[in-house]
Amino acid sequence: MSASGRGISSDDGEEPQRRRGEGVCTCPFCGLLCDDITAEASKLGVVAVSGRACELSRAGFSRQSAAGLDTPLICGQPAVLEQAVAAAAGILHRAGQPLIGGLGTDVAGMRAALELADRCGAVVDHANSSAKFRNLLAFQDRGAITTTLSEVRNRTDLFVVIGTDVASRFPRFFERVCAPGETLFDLRNADRRAVFVGAEPSAGAPPSETIPCARQDLPDLLSALAASIAGAKLAASHAGAVSMDRIRELAARMSAARYGVVAWAAADLDFPHAELAVQAIMRLLITLNRTTRFSAVPLGGNEADLTADAVLLWQVGFPFRTSFASGAANYDPYLFDSRRMLARREIDAVLWLSALSDLPVPATSDAPLILLAGPTAEAARRADVFIPVGTPGLDHAGHMIRTDKVMSLRLAPTRRPQRAPAAQILRSISEAMKSC
């Protein structure tokens, strides 16, 4: 039994979920975790979603439920599960500095991954962590003032959206916070406004204006905005290509809002010094909240990055980029950046877990690769060991945490299980390591 408690997710083919009418279920394919979509499984187990499901959801369910690789491979050759598990255990046992990465998985999968990491002295990092750290570094330095979807839905009169169209990563964001039209208070949908900075407005957004800005200039623009909100007189005429007058005007609008939010997707802040942009946002929120209410809505959680990070945090105390090499946990977001370590050949074995999609496996140079993934795993054949794993919310139940880090939802299976949960595979690798 693991030290982290018992009864991890049930993998005994629980009845597909029945809630609020036939086949209503929760979607694991973005950080919004919509719990109002309808899924139906064909005889072959192909799951089609309908109702309010977005394109990401439809694509995700059909991709992960499609026929494909469903037998373990050792160096590209079919193998039985026991052999594959033993081979994986052997690789990890021999490794001097293994990486457990990818980590697109649910709570149960992450629990098992951490038990394994603890046993084999691995470094743990998530495929999305470079995006996540754009937020985290500012957060750990200053903290944050944030809010959640229901608050936004009922209170937000001004959206300031930074460097993302929102829709391409979180298709239903505006639908879910604005579309209902009805709010708890006297706020009407018609009262809402949005400003898109450095991005085009997405469908479903409230009446919007756009402030064009090259993405790599966002840190300067946001810093100037923060300074203006704090009342500083800046000599510069522009920040990036945006005139200071425009920035001062936005500052005034934000100060006048009753319950504004700044929304961004760290994944879209893909330029140098993005953390400075986030830091400036945190700074201006501190100033704004001296006189009004204004909060951050950092959009994330895709590929379960927030879920996996939360489990690591609560079990160990540190977020990603934590190493168990010495036997004790050691956190350093630069030192244990898996991409940096791989590039510098500091890793000599990789276990890559991708249960929700096919997260691209980074170049592992000559380090052996253990791949735990779904039916479309592109790297399966070049992996030293490939073991197919199920998708939470499809093959098995699971838990995931939503973009706002507060709501966590249960994903019930939407078809009879065809692949084993990652948690189960990882636990058997841990077991096998005991006998190495």
């Binding site: 039994m1 030290a3 982290s4 408690g5 018992r6 009864g7 991890i8 997710s9 049930s10 809630r19 719990d35 709570v107 149960a108 629990r111 038990e115 985290l136 957060f139 750990q140 330095d141 903290g143 944050a144 003032i145 809010t147 959640t148 979807l149 229901s150 608050e151 839905r153 009922n154 209170r155 209902p180 009805e182 708890l184 009753r258 909240n289 009004t292 209410r293 909060s295 939360a310 489990v311 945090l313 609560w314 079990q315 160990v316 105390g317 540190f318 977020p319 036997g327 004790a328 946990a329 956190y331 838990h399 945490i401 706002d404 880090k405 507060v406 709501m407 966590s408 939802l409 249960r410």
Partner: protein
């Protein structure tokens, strides 16, 4: 298997046993009466040792979103407090906001066998249970936070009848697998979302026009009507504000005789006298507690050093953010349900305010007469990490030690406190009440907190030591449900605890109304709120349901 702890000095206040030498028989995880075939029992000789039931921390923030935010914010604090893996235990970190593994291990090493998370947001219940499921060995339980959620306030504003409220409260307890109801800064967290920065007990909520007093009345009534053993768990208004003694006394009055529990009361016992406009109101508070048998409290003692404050009271936390050290903070509005705020804090013994806070906590401990109505807490981690309990026990049981500590503090604070003149010293029997018998009784854990036949075999054996801090820091034996898990302060077995909850009866027809509300205003369906007993197992914990008070509605 049958075993017997033989020859120990038993201290078991729930059964009126004060330091009597008795044998304790354990079979299948339970304490039993001496059986006929006692001879075959596996004998553990503990002659001369002090035996108590497993300790129960009835107010400790160990799981849920705000704790995870605190963990995330304090890599600096974790670094110094890393626990390396062993063949038995896993690596984990932290002191102020430890990882769940560290939390379970440390509590068990200190002889604690049950811990209660007192501020679980209903919308965050699932994560709280996931975290508690990863907290080994100890049993857990949660208090669901109400009183700032818009459903409740809306019902109140619309003048819904008490019975309706009761059903909603029952539904919340049921679907979040909780054991009690807590209210935090009644109405204040919601008011903060309307940009109010303070809300007094008789001040109207800016939108719903209801007062905190009303919220307290209705919720304490609901908890009482439903027969929930633990009275309404109240985190008062104006936490940490000089002069908040008035709000605290008003809160006691608002209960109108119904059972309420005032939590971390130290933070609510401040006057406004003196040059610094900050003074101890411990005497007035203790007097009120002594005079109102319906009131119980836990202290929330502070200790000096680095910790982190994590609270649902984001109104107060936003107020305190600039006092934080290291200077960073998280303030969060949450799902039209509540909020949370996290501010790292460093209490300094040469700071007038901090030193006086320390003294106020101890004054309350020593001035409240009935040990059954006061509980030993630091409001972990808000006053100090739970690992400081043995030190706190020594402060309570050893007057000269207490005074030595007192004399090291900021001199002005010493002058402003009566602590030096308080001669009371807690006995081991009283300590056992504060840390075992009373918490079990107030929470309705019939089979915990005592050593009588039928009780779960959560048993702690201490070596007698005049230095109570040393004595309570490393028990010689700790048994959880009959299994030996700690020997000489070292873990020898890792088990997983269960979750204690209550299931009061309520009219299920409320669910349709709640479902409609969620459909119209919330970001998830009401169905997604429900955590079944099976799901609780997925989270990592079995469920123990305790009876509600007989004769309740």
């Amino acid at each position: 298997m049958l075993s017997v702890l033989s020859g120990g000095r038993v201290i078991d206040p729930a059964n009126g046993v004060d330091d009597q030498v008795r044998d304790i028989y354990v079979q299948d995880g339970r304490i039993i009466d001496p059986p006929q075939d006692a001879a075959r029992a596996h004998r553990i000789d503990i002659a001369g040792r002090v035996v108590m039931a497993g300790a129960i921390d009835m107010h400790t923030h160990i799981g849920g979103g705000k704790v995870n935010l605190a963990r995330l914010m304090l890599p600096e604090d974790h670094r110094g407090h890393a626990r390396a893996r062993t063949e038995l235990t896993r690596a984990s970190c932290g002191r102020a906001a430890p990882g769940t593994l560290q939390t379970g291990y440390r509590y068990a090493e200190m002889g604690y066998t049950a811990c209660f998370e007192p501020a679980m947001l209903p919308v965050n219940a699932r994560q709280a249970h996931l975290e508690l499921g990863d907290t080994p060995i100890v049993d857990k339980g949660c208090y669901a936070m109400l009183g700032n959620d818009d459903y409740f306030l809306r019902q109140l504003a619309e003048g819904a009848e008490q019975a309706r409220i009761n059903d909603y409260v029952g539904w919340i307890l049921d679907c979040t697998q909780s054991i009690a109801i807590k209210v935090v800064n009644a109405g204040g967290i919601s008011a903060f979302k309307f940009n109010l920065r303070q809300l007094d007990v008789d001040q109207e909520h800016p939108y719903y026009r209801v007062t905190p007093r009303r919220v307290l009345q209705v919720l304490s009534r609901a908890v009482h009507d439903l027969g929930v053993p633990h009275g309404l768990h109240v985190h008062g208004s104006n936490l940490g504000v000089a002069g908040n003694v008035e709000s605290t006394l008003a809160t006691i009055a608002a209960a109108e005789g119904l059972p309420i529990h005032l939590t971390h009361i130290q933070f609510h016992s401040y006057g406004r006298e003196g040059d610094r406009k900050f003074s101890s109101a411990a005497a007035r508070i203790a007097e009120a507690v002594n005079a109102n048998p319906n009131v119980s409290c836990d202290v929330g003692q502070i200790m000096f050093g680095q910790t982190v404050t994590a609270s649902g009271d984001n109104m107060a936390q936003h107020r305190n953010a600039d006092l934080g050290s290291p200077r960073k903070s998280v303030v969060m509005d949450i799902e039209c349900d509540a909020g949370c705020g996290v501010v790292p804090f460093r209490y300094r013994d040469q700071s007038f305010v901090n030193a006086l806070q320390w003294a106020i906590g101890l004054e309350i401990f020593l001035l409240v007469r009935d040990p059954w109505r006061i509980f030993l807490t630091t409001d972990h981690p808000n006053g100090a990490p739970f690992t400081s309990y043995p030190h706190l026990i020594r402060l309570l049981t050893d007057r000269s030690f207490r005074n030595d500590m007192f004399q090291k503090l900021n001199p002005e604070a010493q002058a402003a406190s009566t602590l030096g003149s308080l001669t009371r010293e807690y006995s081991l029997y009283e300590i056992a009440i504060l840390t075992r018998a009373a918490p079990a009784r107030t929470l309705g854990l019939a089979d915990r907190g005592h050593l009588g036949a039928g009780a779960a075999a959560d048993i702690v054996v201490y070596r007698e030591d005049a230095d109570r801090e040393r004595m309570f820091a490393t028990p010689e034996y700790v048994f959880k449900d009959g299994e030996l898990i700690v020997r000489d302060g070292r873990l020898v077995k890792i088990t997983s605890g269960r979750v204690h909850a209550v299931k009061p009866g309520y009219d299920r027809s409320i669910e349709a109304h709640v479902a409609d509300y969620f459909e119209r205003f919330q970001s998830i369906s009401a169905a997604s709120m429900r955590i079944s007993a099976d799901e609780l197992c997925e989270c990592g914990s079995g469920l123990i349901v305790h009876d509600c008070r007989k004769g309740a509605a």
